[in-house]
């Protein structure tokens, strides 16, 4: 860039000054730690005694490829991601479309739907543990009453149905966590809502003239118009879902029988319980590569289905 005037030179200086906090953090912490992490992934080390460092080369990566637990953790994480993200998008879009209707009290509904997305953390995880309790929890209590009702209506067999054990059952633990994730779909909903409010009315009016039905309008007007929001939510959802940790750590600790052994939980155990820093670093880099590959894939596919104004 050419900086002819003193004002431009001053602006350049102030630019660096204002960006300094992030530049320092990025250079001093992010880049340094990334390099260090890459180096750690190539050694064996317990993280305590420097004398115990041994060169590993690609051993840690090779070990990850043959590690049955890594395969389980990857499968679990991918399963969670590929089910919870599309469900969350569909649910979030449905909620946004509901809120886009001219209803009274729409602000209150929006507040209620959005709240669990930001107000959460350990406190709500504790609540969900109790909700999922097979004997004394909310879910089974509701199901129990529902089945009782069915039996009272004459469907006798319903009274004998067994209730799922939710997070305490190998088969139900993962669906439980997915169900819980839907409760926090408010962020995606808000972004969809912004997109829906920006679809020009003229497009719907034009399709009315063409005699388009509800489905056709949704498919050929709404979906293309909100595709950038869909794209954004998809990318953020996938990146986030591959880093699930706290729920699995507190609710199931990876169980029962590794049914909720998520990738980051396994990584955490390797790093901070087993002190295999080299192996854990290799696992972190594999995760980074997977996320990069998935993001690249979504970006490539986006060229086919994301519609940008003015193209």
């Amino acid at each position: 860039m050419n900086l002819p005037t003193s004002r431009a030179r001053r602006e350049n200086l102030f630019g660096y000054l204002f960006a300094a906090p992030w530049l320092i953090g990025f250079g001093g912490l992010t880049l340094v730690s990334m390099t260090a992490s890459l180096f750690f992934s190539l050694i064996h080390w317990d993280g305590i005694n420097v004398d115990t460092i041994r060169w590993a080369g690609v051993d840690n990566y090779a070990r990850a490829l043959g590690d049955g637990d890594v395969a389980i953790a990857l499968w679990n994480t991918a399963y969670y991601s590929f089910v919870s993200v599309p469900l969350g998008l569909a649910f979030g879009l449905a909620l946004a479309m509901l809120l886009n209707q001219p209803l009274k009290g729409v602000t209150l509904f929006r507040t209620i739907f959005y709240m669990p997305a930001v107000v959460g953390g350990v406190a709500t995880i504790m609540m969900w543990i109790w909700i999922f309790n097979p004997d004394y929890g909310l879910l089974n209590s509701a199901l129990y009453r529902f089945c009782d009702g069915l039996a009272a209506l004459g469907w006798e067999a319903a009274a004998g149905w067994r209730m799922p054990s939710w997070i305490f059952s190998q088969d139900w633990a993962m669906p439980s966590l997915i169900l819980m994730s839907l409760w926090g779909t408010g962020s995606a909903m808000l972004i969809f809502l912004a997109a829906l409010q920006n679809v020009p009315d003229s497009l719907y009016e034009a399709s009315d003239l063409d005699g388009a039905g509800r489905w056709a309008k949704f498919r050929y007007v709404t979906v293309p118009q909100i595709s950038p929001a869909l794209f954004f939510n998809l990318v953020m959802g996938v990146i986030g879902s591959f880093q699930v940790f706290t729920q699995a750590f507190l609710m199931t600790n990876g169980g029962p029988n590794k049914a909720t052994l998520f990738y980051v939980l396994y990584l955490y155990n390797k790093a901070f319980s087993d002190f295999e820093l080299g192996y854990a670093s290799a696992l972190a880099w594999i995760l980074f590569l997977i996320i990069l590959a998935l993001t690249a894939l979504i970006f490539r596919s986006g060229q086919l289905w994301v519609y940008y104004e003015g193209e």
């Binding site: 960006a19 507040t111 504790m126 609540m127 955490y268 670093s281």
Partner: protein, 281 residues
């Protein structure tokens, strides 16, 4: 004609029923937890469970607070969250300003780097960061939870500020430039006062995020006197084989209260800022 109107009325009623039903679904976990926090332990473990129990056992709350150093946990959380939030709001607004309004060499390159960090999972940095902070003697202090917050506050918040600052008309700052005002004065006395809605949004979201943070305290804090509430709740969960459910629920409800209140006061600003940013892409 009448048919058409009846149809539309029915549709509206249907929409209200769906919206109300969903509201109940979204609120019920909280209601259920409040209910459990007001039952005696025997009632909590009754089958089939009841939603509420009479009379309400308010003693659960006083007893829960007395069982573990609950007030200490809350004070710790307040200290950490306040310090980290201040850092995130201040540094993210500065960096966002640099990316939105100032022309400096390499700005576009650094902006791409900033966006790329969104894809970088924190786990890649976790172990080296831990070793760096350990060697600085920061383990069992709040520094690992606070200092990084002052270094830009994360790509998302920087992006939020940048989007907002780009929308501020150039005339406002041009006039100040002609009067010879420095960039720092323009930022502090023109830009920041305008940015109140975004400051509130980032401030509240950041405060809630810091309040709820679990993995960082789990890794860096081992002395329970230093625990924030997220780790404190885990102590309630673990104490005496989990026989503290009613206390755990009471503590969780108290831990959530400030967040729910904060959310209801700030939600108008938050949703509007996010709707605005979202619509600009």
């Amino acid at each position: 004609m009448i048919d058409h109107r009846v149809q539309r009325l029915l549709l509206r009623i249907g929409l209200y029923v769906v919206a109300l039903g969903l509201s109940v679904v979204f609120l019920f976990p909280l209601v259920w937890a409040v209910g459990a926090s007001l039952k005696p332990l025997l009632e909590v473990y009754r089958y089939p469970p009841s939603l509420l129990f009479w009379p309400l056992r308010w003693d659960n709350y006083t007893e829960a607070i007395a069982k573990l150093p609950f007030l200490r946990f809350i004070t710790n959380t307040l200290m950490i969250s306040t310090a980290a939030t201040l850092g995130q709001v201040l540094s993210a607004s500065m960096v966002g300003y640099a990316f939105a309004r100032l022309r400096w060499r390499g700005r576009n390159f650094w902006f791409v780097c900033l966006l790329a960090t969104m894809m970088l999972p924190g786990q890649v940095l976790l172990i080296p960061n831990y070793l760096i902070f350990k060697n600085l003697g920061w383990v069992n202090t709040y520094k690992p939870l606070i200092v990084p917050a002052w270094l830009g506050g994360g790509a998302f918040f920087i992006f939020l500020f940048r989007q907002f600052f780009r929308g501020v008309p150039a005339d406002l700052t041009d006039a100040a430039h002609i009067d010879g005002a420095s960039e720092i004065r323009i930022y502090a006395s023109i830009i920041l006062p305008l940015a109140r809605p975004v400051m509130i949004t980032v401030g509240v979201l950041s405060f809630m995020g810091n309040w709820q943070e679990f993995m960082m305290p789990l890794i860096y804090l081992s002395d329970y006197q230093l625990y924030p509430i997220s780790m404190g709740l885990r102590m309630y969960q673990q104490v005496e084989g989990g026989s503290y459910v009613h206390y755990l629920m009471a503590a969780s409800v108290v831990a959530l209260c400030p967040l729910v209140l904060l959310f209801f006061f700030a939600q108008r600003h938050i949703t509007q800022s996010l709707l605005l940013t979202g619509s600009k892409g």
